[in-house]
């Protein structure tokens, strides 16, 4: 490593530890700190409507969910199209408490950090169970197994009286040190909570990837037989990848329940699973940055397509039905275009932008 920690260039690592640093230079760390400060400060400076705060909060929740999917699909190479069901498991963990104890029970309103962790735990357990077929199945067959889980989840929620047959189960307002979080500060409060969770879990993922457990995921993805020969346990790694994905999804589900103040079946359908997968692909599979960029890109696109459909429907009333097709059309088109022309996702654009600022001699 270069002596100058502010303007380090080239590959000067003298130890594995140095190579595994989260921030290669102090300048990187400073930039990241400034970015975090910006994320915390901007809502205090700019006035944003509740509508857009809701969108931003939803993007942050999707980031938490995509962390898990990226670990599973991007890093471990196990494609899942049942991720929304995992998110649903987290949300319905809270809903279960709400049904038994009531939506305004102190456990849900005062001990919400605990409930979020618990939802993550339940997600992890269910994830590990759903991951069991990965001990024998690969590729398309495993995809079908995750699809089955999605269908089973939908069926159980839709027909179970306990889960209100998919109708919304209300979750009460939470309490903070200042008292009950009221309607006026609801979205801001959850913005900060989710942001903190995104940062903590982001560092968690980054650190995981620096450990042998993280490298196991990549090794099993690239060649599970070789990984086996190297002393890793491919089966265990796959199940644990599913458990990790389930944990992140469970946390996202609990956050969803608190943000929307209720749990309804409609938010965890197959179409949402495909959306999460699209977020991971568009963001960049196997990259941490992709987990941030994908959800932001897809949800903003969705919002803009909605606006476009409304505009078309309003001014060209005869095309109202055509407008309905805009969303799936744009959605499918974006995925296909990214797979064809930019399979490494938006994260690759970020890599290119960063490369403009590299100094000679370059790091690789």
């Amino acid at each position: 490593m270069s002596e100058n920690r502010w303007l380090a260039t080239g590959n000067f690592f003298t130890s594995y530890r140095a190579e595994q640093r989260i921030f290669l230079t102090n300048f990187d760390r400073l930039l990241f700190t400034c970015f975090l400060v910006l994320l915390f400060v901007w809502p205090l400076v700019f006035e944003v409507s509740n509508k857009y705060m809701l969108v931003i909060d939803s993007i942050l929740i999707a980031i938490v969910a995509v962390y898990g999917l990226n670990l599973l699909t991007g890093f471990a190479g196990l494609i899942s199209i049942g991720h929304a069901a995992f998110v649903g498991v987290g949300a319905y963990t809270l809903a279960t408490f709400a049904r038994i104890l009531g939506g305004d029970h102190v456990l849900l309103t005062h001990f919400w950090p605990l409930m979020i962790m618990l939802a993550g735990g339940v997600g992890a357990v269910i994830g590990a169970i759903v991951g069991l077929p990965s001990l024998r199945l690969k590729h398309l067959y495993l995809v079908i197994a995750t699809l089955s889980f999605q269908m089973i989840f939908q069926w159980i929620i839709n027909f179970s009286k306990f889960f209100n047959q998919g109708q919304t189960i209300a979750v009460g307002r939470v309490f903070w040190f200042t008292g009950k979080v009221g309607r006026s500060e609801h979205y801001f409060f959850w913005y900060y909570v989710i942001l903190v969770i995104v940062i903590i879990l982001g560092f968690g993922v980054r650190n995981l990837l620096r450990t042998k457990h993280g490298r196991c995921l990549v090794a099993v993805r690239d060649n599970d037989r070789a990984a086996d020969a190297m002393g890793m346990h491919p089966g265990f790694t796959k199940v644990y990848a599913f458990a990790l994905a389930g944990f992140f999804a469970g946390v996202a589900g609990a956050l969803h329940a608190y943000l929307w103040r209720g749990v309804g079946f409609e938010s965890f359908l197959l179409h949402h699973s495909i959306t999460y997968l699209a977020m991971a692909i568009v963001g960049g599979l196997g990259t941490l940055v992709g987990s941030f960029l994908g959800p932001a890109a897809i949800l903003m696109l969705e919002l803009q397509v909605e606006n476009l459909a409304e505009f078309v429907g309003h001014y060209f009333t005869a095309l109202g039905d055509v407008a309905t097709a805009f969303r799936p059309l744009s959605f499918g088109l974006v995925i296909v275009l990214f797979l064809m022309f930019e399979p490494r996702g938006i994260a690759n654009w970020w890599r290119i932008v960063r490369s403009y600022f590299k100094l000679w001699p370059f790091r690789y």
């Binding site: 509508k51 809701l54 109708q167 209300a170 309804g264």
Partner: protein, 409 residues
């Protein structure tokens, strides 16, 4: 000379400025409302005409100055039948300081119920689900609930059954909270003594043919099918039944099935979709039909014509539906103004709950008056049965209130 011209111009400008301010001062207020509904996507066959009904009536109110110098502005947004989008739209409307909200789907009405209560805003949804009223003060159903409609049809079957034992009935419902809204109450009515046998409840999918399902119902001896869904699946059901020669040509014909439906499962739109298969279809609603002559029909046709709508829309029962909810909201505003109150959410709520007795509202679009109170927030309590003959729905008997609805409440 130049100074005089400048002075003159300044005087004119000042005059115009004062005039501008004074015009603004005497110009009325604008009351804002919001409507989020499915103009595209699932159930848009009902949502699209519904939105046009609201839009046209609000235009009419402003054009005809029904609120004097005051105006009503109604934001209409498409949510594609997605609760998440409805919530986003509602938040957007709140930022616009709406005083009245028109919602659409059952799912989103139930999901947003806590928000309505917190915001203390009167809400008229297009969903007639009785469950909307549970734990709520601010949701008002425009007409009798789905439960009342389904129980009303079941009661009609029981009262007019000529065979031995009990009439065998199946329910054909939408696979959602909306569809399931009614069958629990039909079961309760049966438990309370309603003389029918509920053989099967079918949650339909997106089938293009219902032959297998109809044959199954037939093999179970089903004689009556009560539908509670939207028009397209009912049209598919009727076409399948027609191809199997299963449709009763007279009510309760032996060996055939008599098809019936609640509000959204019928109407002129169904005839347009199902054609001759809709003949002898029995339909119940609290709305008046445009095929019957009367002042309500004339007014609706005139409204549609005035705003360049085609005949299909002018006769659509969901267009009527949209007009009616807008009428109720505007009427609440008019009454609040007439009392000298400021038009706010609180004053509109008070006007809504006092809309009963001598204060009941007769909007011409319904078969009975709109009545609300703090304990009864179902608007029009009476139902009208219609039957499709020669491509048109005709009234069958007089408006009625189902007996068993009172028994199971």
């Amino acid at each position: 000379m130049r100074n005089r011209r400048i002075t003159f111009m300044l005087v004119v400008l000042s005059f115009l400025l004062i005039l501008g301010f004074s015009v603004q001062a005497v110009a009325g207020e604008t009351y804002k409302m919001g409507l989020s509904l499915a103009i595209t996507g699932p159930t848009s066959d009902a949502g699209d005409p519904y939105s046009k009904g609201v839009e046209d009536y609000i235009k009419y109110v402003n054009d005809e100055k029904l609120l004097g110098d005051d105006k009503v502005e109604c934001f209409i947004r498409d949510d594609g039948y997605k609760t998440e989008v409805t919530k986003r739209n509602f938040e957007d409307f709140l930022d616009e300081n709406i005083v009245f909200y028109l919602n659409y789907s059952t799912g989103s009405t139930l999901a947003l119920k806590p928000d309505f209560e917190e915001e203390k805003i009167p809400v008229l949804p297009a969903s007639f689900h009785a469950g909307n009223l549970v734990d709520s003060k601010y949701i008002f159903l425009p007409i009798a609930s789905y439960s009342s409609q389904a129980v009303g049809l079941a009661e009609y079957v029981a009262n007019n059954y000529k065979g031995n034992g009990k009439a065998k009935v199946a329910m054909f419902i939408h696979p959602s909270a909306f569809g399931r809204a009614s069958y629990d109450d039909v079961k309760k009515a049966i438990d309370a003594g309603l003389n029918i046998e509920l053989v099967e409840i079918v949650e339909h999918g997106k089938d293009l043919d219902n032959t297998a399902m109809l044959k199954r119902l037939k093999s179970k001896g089903v004689q009556y099918v009560i539908s509670h869904t939207v028009q397209p699946p009912v049209a598919t059901l009727l076409k399948s039944a027609q191809s199997l020669d299963m449709i009763a040509s007279t009510y309760g014909e032996e060996g055939k099935i008599t098809f019936m439906g609640a509000h959204y499962a019928g109407g002129p739109g169904l005839i347009a979709l199902a054609g001759s298969a809709a003949e002898n279809y029995y339909w119940v609603t609290s709305y008046k039909l445009m095929s019957a002559k009367g002042p309500g029909t004339d007014a609706q046709h005139a409204l549609a014509k005035r705003y360049g709508r085609d005949d299909k829309l002018a006769n659509d029962s969901n267009y009527t539906n949209g007009i009616m909810v807008a009428q109720v909201a505007v009427e609440a505003m008019r009454r609040a103004k007439a009392r000298g109150n400021k038009v706010t959410r609180a004053s509109l709520y008070e006007e809504m709950v006092s809309m009963n007795g001598y204060n009941a509202y007769y909007p011409l679009t319904t078969v009975g008056p709109v009545t609300y109170s703090k304990t009864d927030r179902e608007g029009v309590d009476t139902l009208q049965l219609y039957v499709a003959k020669d491509g048109v729905f005709h009234e069958l008997g007089l408006p009625f209130s189902p007996e068993y609805v009172k028994k199971i409440k």
